[in-house]
């Protein structure tokens, strides 16, 4: 906490940031309610569908329907088609999910406060607001929300809202509590245009990776659900009855989400964008290191981790193109990659010794 009088621009910034955190927390709650209600809505829809299916079956009785288990698989396919359409629906024609709308509105509001906090911090410091750990956490989380909101214009990704707002509340809250640092003049090595480019691009890449991560997690959950449904279907086929409805197949909201395959292809798109920016980060960092430290690469701890992350995501992209790895296995690589990103930002910054001693923490 800044101990100066409450009138300094920096304390205004801190106040705005805390307000943003509170609003994001509310958005998180709204989005969570949305997911819970989606589960319920999906159950109703499913009951209705089951009803028609049963009627159809009665009609077809004696007609020798192909297989008993295919009923739930058909249901699954129908859900998938519907949810993929929903995913791509333009803004005006999206499902009227009241709680999701509240969540998104709150997220936009939180974003405005967050932006205000970030900008005032930058003005107070008289430079770009990503020059120490507190500031790049501030800007990095801002970019996560910005990218999420931007993507919402194209895809209805509101089912990721809980994840995004939850992540941002945790990261931004942790930042405000543990990473706050007073404004001090820049150290000489940081006085460079590369600070503006390198760190900003890295934050942007992180934001994209975080979306990919969220989608990959959902993909894994969805894949597990699909596998269970398939198992139930084949069991029903074996018994020759569709009486047993599938046991628990995972959280209810999954029924309203796109198929694992669709989630994967979306995750992949964010991951490759992130990968491009990460590649820029790597190159810009090397150019800067060549100016500041007299060599473009020296396996400094931070350089090592940037490299590891780059290789992990290259691995992810490869895995998607390797038979036997596409699908859940490659999703794990996206998850491991993002874990490494977060590790690089927190643990490596705070505890690893190296030349990148600019966290501003003591």
């Amino acid at each position: 906490m800044p101990d100066a009088s409450p009138l300094t621009l920096d304390s205004v910034s801190v106040l705005l940031v805390w307000t943003a955190i509170a609003i994001y927390a509310l958005a998180f709650i709204a989005y969570a309610v949305d997911l819970a209600r989606r589960g319920a809505v999906a159950v109703e829809a499913k009951d209705a569908a089951a009803q028609t299916a049963r009627e159809r079956e009665l009609v077809a009785a004696g007609g020798g329907r192909g297989s008993a288990g295919s009923g739930i698989v058909d249901q699954l396919r129908a859900q998938e088609t519907a949810s993929e359409e929903a995913l791509n629906a333009p803004v005006g024609r999206r499902a009227r999910l009241v709680w999701a709308r509240i969540g998104t509105s709150l997220t936009v509001l939180g974003f405005l406060f967050h932006l205000g906090g970030d900008v005032t911090r930058g003005i107070a410091a008289g430079r770009v607001p990503w020059s120490n750990m507190y500031e790049f956490a501030l800007t990095g989380t801002l970019l996560i929300v910005a990218v999420y909101l931007g993507v919402l214009l194209r895809y209805d990704l509101r089912f990721l809202g809980t994840f995004i707002t939850g992540l941002v509340v945790v990261l931004l809250g942790g930042t405000a509590i543990w990473f706050y640092t007073d404004i001090v003049p820049l150290m000489d090595p940081l006085k460079s245009v590369w600070l503006v480019i390198h760190v900003f691009v890295a934050s942007l890449a992180t934001a994209l990776f975080s979306l990919a991560f969220g989608l990959s997690v959902l993909q894994l959950m969805q894949a597990r659900r699909e596998a269970r449904i398939a198992a139930v279907a084949s069991a029903q086929d074996a018994v020759g009855t569709s009486a047993a409805s599938p046991a628990k197949t995972g959280p209810g909201f999954l029924r309203t989400l796109p198929s694992a395959e669709a989630l994967e292809s979306l995750a992949y798109r964010f991951a490759i964008l992130g990968f491009i920016f990460w590649t820029f980060t790597l190159i810009a960092g090397s150019i800067w290191a060549n100016d500041a430290w007299g060599r473009y690469w020296g396996f400094d701890t931070k350089e090592v981790w940037t490299f590891v992350i780059w290789v992990l995501y290259a691995g992810y992209i490869h895995a998607r193109a390797t038979r036997g790895w596409r699908g859940s296995r490659s999703a794990w690589l996206s998850i491991i990659g993002f874990t490494a990103v977060i590790f690089n930002f927190t643990i490596v910054n705070m505890f690893f010794k190296g030349l990148h001693a600019y966290s501003g923490l003591s």
């Binding site: 395959e261 798109r269 490759i272 007299g294 396996f299 992990l312 691995g315 490869h318 038979r323 010794k353």
Partner: protein
């Protein structure tokens, strides 16, 4: 959204769609997700019969497979991690030394495993060398193949376009049968023209009963992929070969002194294998002044130093002197070298006289900074001229303040209240044996401590300009005041020095070039869609059936939209073309995307 092709491509491969034409668009490793899976029995049958050549071929195929590349990539990521956990000789030699002190038992074991030199270790090298062999083995055949594909025609139009993932059908009404055939031909003509304009390579495949055009675009995607992978090899070669012509050397220059670019003047020098140490350009650098600024007390970050500038005079033999400067982030470029500012400190000028008053030592001695406020430590060795050899360990405080314990510390980096103290040792300096000794350390093993520390006598304390006697009547020490005549306070009373690093990097430009190429390739490989499109027109009575189909080759989320958009534009262009009155009825649209 078009579905990405799943793990079982042959299941969804359009039957009759001749997508596996003789010249496949790209040759990929056999286990690429988009290539057909081998029949499970194949290997079981062929394996036992392998001869030596067979085994070699099999091994090569394994090495250049996608799975091997993937595993090696993941291994590379894992293998790089230990280098961030354990200090590395290349990046942090002092850290390694300290590690050996702190973990006397563990360190030798880790050293045996090359854990202090991870990135040059045999195991790390093995991984990336294998990876790059695999890479080359993968890229060369694909390049050959891609070259052929680029000159080949787009493949024959599949018999049943409706089997493709993205497909739509439109019906055009015409007045009579003869008209329909003509309209079909015109429609394909128009489609061909339009596809070509959209950057597709096109080929006509007209049959007995229908007209069709086959089109393909996005060859640059594969080109980008190949450029990307080849550029990675370029980066590695540039680093490897360029490293041989690269050198780095370190030196220290005290204000007012001159340094010459010859081996003699370097304090350390690390040449690459092919560097000729006698061929350095003998330019000279004189440090005229080292300037910096401090955040003044009372402000946030008080005492922080910055804006470091080494003002130099540069001089080539037989040329006029020029001025230059070195700042952080702004190295000085000279004779193909870059000169970097790596550090700075104080170099108090110390004069030692013997008991007769004769000067036996007089020069500025660089002291190494120990903390943020420039508390610095240095060593003065006087081997000759005194009754005994004398060594002194000095502590310098630019702004000295006494701690509660009576010890001194520095509270500010600038020269506000400078103080120099000495511990004095007499005896054998240990420098006669010819073993080189660092100028920054003193080995007191063969010496007796006369002042400071546990000696019982207080350490010597001097302000600039002061002189004190050495213990035991050995002589005296003076801390010279270097400030110009009539100066106020202590500003400029002590000289500063800079440590500079001189680099010749033959690789950097090449590495950058290949990195930029790689990025360009990557952009093309990831974002240029590679797709095939077909349009077929079949006259049916007095209607024409128009079929549009698209096939993604690799990731292509926009395929659906692209086909729809093309179909729409095509229909509009047909409508515009029809003479008035002859206008076909509104086409019935039956998009069927399965």
């Amino acid at each position: 959204m078009s579905r990405p092709r799943s793990d079982a491509p042959q299941g969804s491969a359009p039957e009759g769609a001749d997508v596996s034409d003789p010249v496949e668009g790209m040759l990929r490793p056999a286990d690429h997700a988009d290539s057909a899976a081998p029949a499970a029995t194949d290997e079981a049958i062929t394996q036992p019969a392998l001869g030596v050549v067979g085994w070699l071929r099999w091994g090569w195929r394994q090495l250049t497979s996608m799975r091997t590349a993937l595993v090696l990539l993941l291994l590379l990521a894992i293998a790089a991690v230990p280098g961030s956990l354990v200090p590395q000789r290349s990046a942090d030699p002092n850290g390694v030394r300290q590690y050996f002190v702190d973990n006397a038992d563990l360190a030798p074991v880790l050293d045996k495993l090359s854990l202090f030199d991870v990135y040059t270790s045999p195991w790390f090298s093995a991984i990336y060398i294998l990876l790059f062999i695999s890479l080359v083995g993968c890229v060369i055949p694909r390049t050959r193949h891609h070259y052929k594909a680029m000159r080949a025609q787009p493949p024959r139009t599949p018999a049943r376009l409706s089997r493709l993932d993205v497909h739509r059908t439109e019906i055009l009404e015409c007045r009579d049968d003869a008209d329909a055939a003509a309209a079909a031909a015109t429609a394909i003509e128009a489609a061909q023209h339009q596809l070509r304009k959209a950057g597709y390579r096109v080929a006509r495949y007209d049959g007995a009963r229908s007209f069709s055009v086959s089109a393909e675009r996005g060859y640059l995607r594969e080109t980008g992929n190949l450029v990307f992978h080849a550029s990675l090899v370029g980066v590695l070669l540039a680093v490897g070969i360029g490293g041989g012509f690269t050198y780095t050397g370190q030196t220290v220059i005290i204000e007012g002194r001159t340094w010459v670019n010859t081996m003699l003047d370097y304090t350390s020098f690390n040449p690459g294998r092919f560097v000729d140490e006698d061929a350095l350009t003998p330019y000279a650098l004189t440090l005229d002044d080292f300037s910096l600024s401090y955040v003044t007390p009372g402000q946030q970050g008080a005492g922080q130093a910055g804006d470091f500038v080494a003002h130099l005079t540069t001089q080539f033999p037989d040329a006029a002197a020029q001025s230059g400067e070195v700042r952080v982030n702004h190295p000085l470029q000279i004779a193909g070298d870059k000169v970097y500012l790596m550090g700075n400190g104080y170099a108090p000028t110390i004069t030692v006289r013997n008991s007769d008053g004769d000067v036996v030592f007089s020069e500025p001695v660089p002291f190494l900074p120990q903390d943020n406020h420039m508390t610095s430590q240095g060593v003065v060795k006087v081997p000759d001229g005194l009754r005994e050899q004398v060594g002194m360990v000095g502590f310098f405080y630019p702004t000295a303040q006494e701690l509660g314990s009576g010890a001194l510390t520095s509270v500010y980096g600038d020269l506000e209240y400078p103080m120099l103290t000495f511990w004095v040792y007499a005896g054998d300096l240990g420098i006669d044996g010819g073993v080189p000794k660092s100028v920054y350390t003193l080995d007191p093993a063969e010496m007796t401590q006369l002042a400071g520390g546990d000696s019982g006598a207080a350490s010597l304390e001097l302000k600039p300009g002061e002189t004190v006697d050495l213990p035991d009547g050995l002589g005296s020490v003076t801390f010279e005041n270097e400030a110009p005549e009539g100066a106020n306070g202590f500003q400029d009373s002590v000289k500063r020095y800079v440590s500079l690093s001189v680099h010749r990097d033959a690789a950097a430009t090449w590495v950058l070039l290949f990195a930029v190429l790689a990025t360009a390739g990557l952009l093309a490989a990831l974002f240029i869609p590679r797709r095939r499109m077909w349009v077929r027109a079949t006259p049916q009575g007095h209607t024409v059936q128009l079929e549009y189909a698209g096939l993604a080759r690799g990731e292509d989320p926009a395929l659906d939209g692209a086909v729809a958009q093309f179909a729409q534009r095509h229909l509009v262009s047909l409508a515009d073309r029809e003479p008035a009155g002859d206008r076909p009825a509104r086409p019935e649209s039956t998009p069927d995307v399965d």
